[in-house]
Assembly symmetry: C2
Homo-oligomer: 337 residues x 2
Amino acid sequence: MDDQGSGPLKSIADLARLAGVSVSTVSRALTGKGALNRGTRERIQALADRHGFRLNVAAQNLRLGRTGAVAILMPLGHARGQQLSDPFFLTMLGYLADALTDRGYDMLLSRVLPDRDDWLDTFIRTGRTDGVIVIGQSDQGAVLARAAARYRPLVVWGEQAPGDGPATVGADNIAGGRLAAQHLADRGRRRLAFFGDVGVPEFAARHAGFLAGLPPELHDAVTLVSSPVTPEASEATARDWFGAGNRPDGIFAASDVVAMSLIAAAEQQGLRVPRDLSIIGFDDIPLARLARPPLTTIRQDIEVGAHHLVDLLFRRIGGEDAGSVQIAPELVVRESS
Amino acid sequence: MDDQGSGPLKSIADLARLAGVSVSTVSRALTGKGALNRGTRERIQALADRHGFRLNVAAQNLRLGRTGAVAILMPLGHARGQQLSDPFFLTMLGYLADALTDRGYDMLLSRVLPDRDDWLDTFIRTGRTDGVIVIGQSDQGAVLARAAARYRPLVVWGEQAPGDGPATVGADNIAGGRLAAQHLADRGRRRLAFFGDVGVPEFAARHAGFLAGLPPELHDAVTLVSSPVTPEASEATARDWFGAGNRPDGIFAASDVVAMSLIAAAEQQGLRVPRDLSIIGFDDIPLARLARPPLTTIRQDIEVGAHHLVDLLFRRIGGEDAGSVQIAPELVVRESS
DNA sequence: CTGTTAGCGCGTTCAT
DNA sequence: ATGAACGCGCTAACAG
């Protein structure tokens, strides 16, 4: 080391002393804000570099009245562990992390078990972040709507709530359901089922769109099978259901993971996919291509969704009253249908 | 509202004014630290509740000289996007989030593109977190070792580096490789291959263990196929490789995702798994059970791993010189072998 | 162009 | 048992 044994530089004041200037000069040099002699600035920057000094972000943010962080909250209301077992969410997290990092923001990730209905207000009031992104509204629609009424920088991923809920970004699940319906009808499938948890708004909308997209004479041919959406639980449900003798020829699954469970369970019963049974999923997770048979699915573009979420949030942080965004889903035909 | 129109309480001082006491009294009441009259404390707490006032965590941490947050860093050195496409990491993130939340810590998630070799030092010096967990050392072993020499609260998930690298938690990949080898040998497989990116230490160790676990006469029968480990890229590699006429009868894949790619590619060539070809993966991700055929794999217990990571980190934050932990992997036999 | 000063919201002596 | 005063590390007026 080439400092005079004074130990590591703890603060701007230490560096100022070392450079023989005032703290504000150091601040100006390091932040790049404010007018400063070119030479002084470079000298101080070099000194900071040499000593490995970096501004303390926490103090900086306190002074600036901001936190420099955005929270990603995942309520696990309907099924503990569900969401985080789904590859869909990791993909989303990755894109969010990138988008936030690009803007110089930190990302605070928190799973939340909404045992009380003030979890969101409580979090917001700690002031730990400048904004909140909620991934998956689960069964917490009311809580979200209430918080959104008072707290602007809040954005939700999922199905758009009727009335004035929070600003939402999500796929058009109704349209996605319709696409699935038309595809199965085109394939000549007539004994249909929907597999999923319609207590979750996204899934309920997919189911509703599915019914809406079917010719009227097929409506009564649709069985709604209420099922959790984790790999283990959905496979168990499917096994029981096939085991009870149910023999549909077309199933729309609430997610790709559920679709994979259905294929596994069906084949254990000797049903062949797609010969005996067409299966169509939702999401188009990266592994959908690798499923055997490769999954026909309704694709939602996660990257686009993540960018909309971040964009919307920062516009609201900036005071703009930006509203919800819907993303058009797309049918991807592979071999499971 | 029942306050006198004074607007929202911004700080402890506002509340003190409202309660007719000093700021330090409010601080004592809300933190629970320090002696205080029972009545006063309850009165102030009630007032805070009623006005929705919460202590500002950032200021609190600044004052206490801590941040209350831990960083989860994911270097993407060898293949941008690789890790985050792997379900393994989300599962890990979920458990980490739970463990940190339990300790009252926030989790700061950041993907990092290690284009320069000072990314870790730079991050550490910002002082944004009290500790750092690095998930997957990628090809950044040297950077990690250097940082670990000066910065104690650093813990890494992955293969333990030879010599004095950073404190590491990870599966015993060598042992895992041996398990895979013995299993394939037991099945009578003799034309063997390893699929994966041996530039990543974890995968290199799995490969080494694989060779070490084989009877000597089979060593030369092992082909090393260098392959990226994302779903798309690994399937493409596998397709080309089978397409070139390669016909192994047993493959050890670096991860479950790679194993699923191999099955997909093999079947496109008319190879039947496991009749013509045994395939064994690594990780036991939740979807491994749902693969067709269900995946034989080497299981690493992610939940246990996450707990060790957090435990180790906090012991090091506390000044303890706690060392690395290895987790025993386990063979899970399903139907792909 | 640079230095002095006053906080950002809180916890903690040291008094009383 | 409570209050006054100081400082955590930083930025932004305001002077000079």
